[in-house]
Amino acid sequence: MDLKDLLALKEKELAARKPIVIRCCTAAGCLSSRGEAVKERLERAVYDAGLGERVEVRGVGCLRLCCQGPLVQVDPDNLLYERVTPEEAGSIVDALNGEKVSVARGNPNDPFFTKQQSIVLANSGVVDPNRIESYVAADGYQALHQALHEMTPKAVVEEMLASGLRGRGGAGYPTGLKWATVQKAAGAKKYVICNADEGDPGAFMDRSVLESDPHSVLEGMALGAYAVGADQGYIYVRAEYPLAIARLQTAINQARRLGVLGSAVFESPFHFNVDLRIGAGAFVCGEETALMASVEGKRGTPRPRPPFPAESGLWNCPTLINNVETFANVPAILRRGGAWFAGIGTERSKGTKVFALAGKIRNTGLIEVPMGTPLRVIVEEMGGGAPDGASIKAVQTGGPSGGCIPAEHLDTPVDYDSLNKLGSIMGSGGMIVMDDSTRMVDVARFFMEFCMDESCGKCIPCRAGTVQIHGLLAKVLAGEATARDLGQLEELCDLVKNTSLCGLGQTAPNPVLSTLRFFRREYEELLLPDPFAVKLAVPEGTVSVEIR
C-alpha cells in the first residue's frame, strides 16, 4: 500500500456512492432503541421499492441527538428523522417518492447542530465505522502516510506542540510536551497506550468516538507511535463497551489487512501493532499508572508518580498514554497543520471539546464545540434549557472529579482555566445539567458514594476518608448532623485532596467542596441547631421474657 493505492481506494469508494444516502445511527444509544431493526427495515424498503441503484442505506456512528433516537438522516436533502420505529421506517423510503412521511421530522438547523464544530466527530454519523474504505474516503490515513514519508518524528512532535492540543482525559496536560518527553526518553522499546477506560457517570464521549470512528483513533495512535518511536500500542477499553470493542477489533483487522498497521506501514520502515486490552470494570484503571499495571496483568492500582509513564511506564519502558479524544484529534492536526488547530478555541485551550450533555435538559446527546464557548450557549441554546418549565440550577462538569457550576456562572467560557477557577474541571467531557429540584447535598453524596466504591484501597486517605466523608454526607441528609460534623467534613475533604496517592482520591472531594462553595446554605439548612446534639439508636423489641 502506498499513497497511490490509498487515493485509488478513496476514488473507488467515492465513485460507488449513490445519489441518495440514508444514514442510520448504529451507535449504542440508538441500537438500544431498536436502531438495528430500523436499518434492516430501511434496507428492505429500498429493495422492495426497486431503489437499490439510487439509494444507499448506511450504518453510521453517532448522529448526536441521542434523546431523540433512533435517528436517521437522509442526504442530500438533509432530512432528519427522530424516534424512528422499525414499523414506520419504510415511510422514510416512501417519502423519497414524494409520499407523506409518518415519522417525526427533526430540525437539522436547530442550534444543537449548527453551533457545533466538528474535528473529533467530523466522521461521526458520516462514515461507516465497520468499513475502513469509508474512513479512507474521508481522507483517512493520509496524515499517517504524509508523516511517514514527508516528516521526521521530530517534525510530527513540533506540529503537535504548535497545535496547542491539551490532553482530553481531564487533566489538560499539553499533548505535544508529553510526546516530546517520550520521544526524548532513552529506551529501545517504547509503547503507546490509548486510554479508553471512560468511567465518569453520565459520560459517553469516548464510547461514541470509538463506535463511530475507530480508525481516527488508530491513525492517531500510529502517528504518536511514529513520533515517539514505539512499535506496540494498546487500547485499554472497558468491558462495558462491547460494541466499541467489536468495532475496534474490526478496525484493527482491516487496518492490518490494508497495511496501515503492522509491519512496514505504507512501505516505510515503521512497524506498529495495536492490541486491545479489556478492562474488568474498575474505575481506578482509568488512572494511567493503574491502567498500565492492569495491562501488565497485575492488580489495577496506581503507584506514586514520578516516575511518569513518559519516562518509565509499561514494563518500565517509556510510554505515551493519551485519551481517546486526544488521539482522535491527531490525524486532523497533522492533515491540516498545528497552526490551523491553534486558530480554534481560546488562548490557552485550543481546538474543540466533545461533551456528553445529560441530565435535566431538553436535548441530551453528544456535542462538539470550540473551546471557550460559554456554558450558557451549550445548555440554553444547544441544550434547549431545562424541560417542563423548570430552571437550570447548576451544571456538573468533570464527573466525580469535578464540580458544580451554579446558574449565575453560566456565562463562563468552557476552557480548562475558567472551569478550574470555579473549582470544577474540564474533565473528560461529562456535562450533567441539574434543575431546581436537585438537592446539591444529594449530588455530593452520589459522587462520593461513587468514589468510595471505586477507591482501590491502596492509600488510606482515599480508602477510609471517602467512607467517612460519605457517612457525614448521609448524616447531613438524614438531618442528624451538626455544625461540628460540617467542620469535620471540610477537614476530611482537605485531607483526602492533599494526601491521596492518585487522581481519584485527590479529586474525590471536589463535588463536595464545590457544592459547599456555591450551595453552603443547603448544607446548613439540614443541620441540627445544637452543635453537640447526638442521636443514638436504641433497638426496639429486645423484650423476650421477664425476670423470674
Binding site: A282, V284, R299, T301, R303, P304, P306, M452, D453, E454, S455, C456, G457, K458, C459, I460, P461, R463, A464, G465, T466, V467, Q468, G471, Q488, E491, L492, L495, N498, T499, S500, L501
Partner: protein
C-alpha cells in the same frame, strides 16, 4: 555514584543518587513516621504517613518513594503535616476493630506506637465496626482482619523475599482484604511455605503465631533485612 546535596528540615544532607528522601533523612538522624515502609523491601507509598513538604511543589510527596535531587528543600514537620498524620491514624483506627487491650501485639505494635508519637489520644471519626473474619486455618499462623491496615508488607515479603506468592490483595476500597492464594483459607494454601516472613513483617497484630495471647507477639524485623542484604549485597555477617 553521584552525590546529591539537599536540605532536610534546614539541615544540609548529602545522599547518593537514587536514595529516597526517607533514606537520606534517616541517615542524617531525622526520623519521618512510616507504616507501610519496611527495610529490605521496595516501597509503595500507600500509607501516606511519610508525606513531606517540598519547597516549590504544591503537592506533598511520599518520602519513601521520592528520590533525592540536587538542591531539594524538604520539610518533614509542620502543623499541616502533623494534622494530616494524626487524621490518617484516626482513619485507620476507625476503619476496622483495633482493640489494643485484647491484641496479641499490644505493646509491640507499630500502629499503636505511631498513635502515641503523633499525639492521637482519641478518634474523632465514626467507628465503622465492620464484621471481619479471623483465619485460623493455618497450622502455625493466624490472620485477624480486624487488625489489618492493608500496608501490604506481608504481600511484598511473600512475593519478593520468600517468592511464594501466597499473599495478595483482593477487593476494592474499604472492602479490600489480604488473601491467601485464590482467596482460600490460609490453611488450604498450596503455595504457602510456612516461612513466617509475613509474621515478621506485620506492623500490627493482624498476622500472628498461633497460641499467642494479648501482648505476646513480638517480631524480629532484622531477619528480613538480613536476608535481603545477604542476597543483594552479599553481606552475610552483620
Amino acid at each position: 555514584m553521584a552525590v546529591r546535596t539537599l536540605t532536610i528540615d534546614s539541615k544540609q544532607v548529602s545522599a547518593e543518587e537514587g536514595t529516597t528522601i526517607l533514606g537520606a533523612a534517616r541517615d542524617a538522624g531525622i526520623s519521618i513516621p512510616t507504616l507501610c515502609h519496611l527495610d529490605g523491601i521496595y516501597d509503595v507509598g500507600a500509607c501516606r504517613m511519610c508525606l513531606v513538604e517540598l519547597a516549590g511543589s504544591p503537592r506533598l510527596l511520599p518520602a519513601c518513594t521520592t528520590m533525592v535531587a540536587e538542591g531539594m528543600d524538604v520539610r518533614t514537620q509542620s502543623d499541616r503535616l502533623r494534622r494530616y498524620r494524626r487524621m490518617i491514624l484516626e482513619l485507620l483506627f476507625a476503619e476496622r476493630n483495633h482493640v489494643c487491650a485484647a491484641c496479641v501485639s499490644n505493646g509491640h505494635c507499630e500502629l499503636q506506637t505511631m498513635a502515641y508519637s503523633q499525639g492521637m489520644d482519641h478518634v474523632r471519626f465514626a467507628y465503622q465496626s465492620p464484621l471481619l473474619e479471623v483465619d485460623l486455618t493455618h497450622a502455625s499462623f493466624g490472620m485477624d482482619h480486624n487488625r489489618c491496615i492493608l500496608c501490604t508488607r506481608c504481600v511484598r515479603v511473600c512475593w519478593h523475599i520468600e517468592g511464594a506468592g501466597t499473599k495478595n490483595v483482593s477487593g476494592r476500597g474499604t472492602h479490600a482484604r489480604i488473601i491467601s492464594d485464590l482467596n482460600q483459607p490460609w490453611g488450604m494454601s498450596e503455595t504457602c511455605s510456612a516461612c513466617g516472613k509475613c509474621i515478621q513483617a506485620c506492623p500490627t497484630g493482624a498476622l500472628f503465631r498461633r497460641g499467642m495471647t494479648a501482648g505476646e507477639m513480638e517480631r524480629d524485623r532484622t531477619r528480613l533485612e538480613f536476608l535481603v542484604n545477604a542476597r543483594e549485597k552479599k553481606q552475610w555477617n552483620v
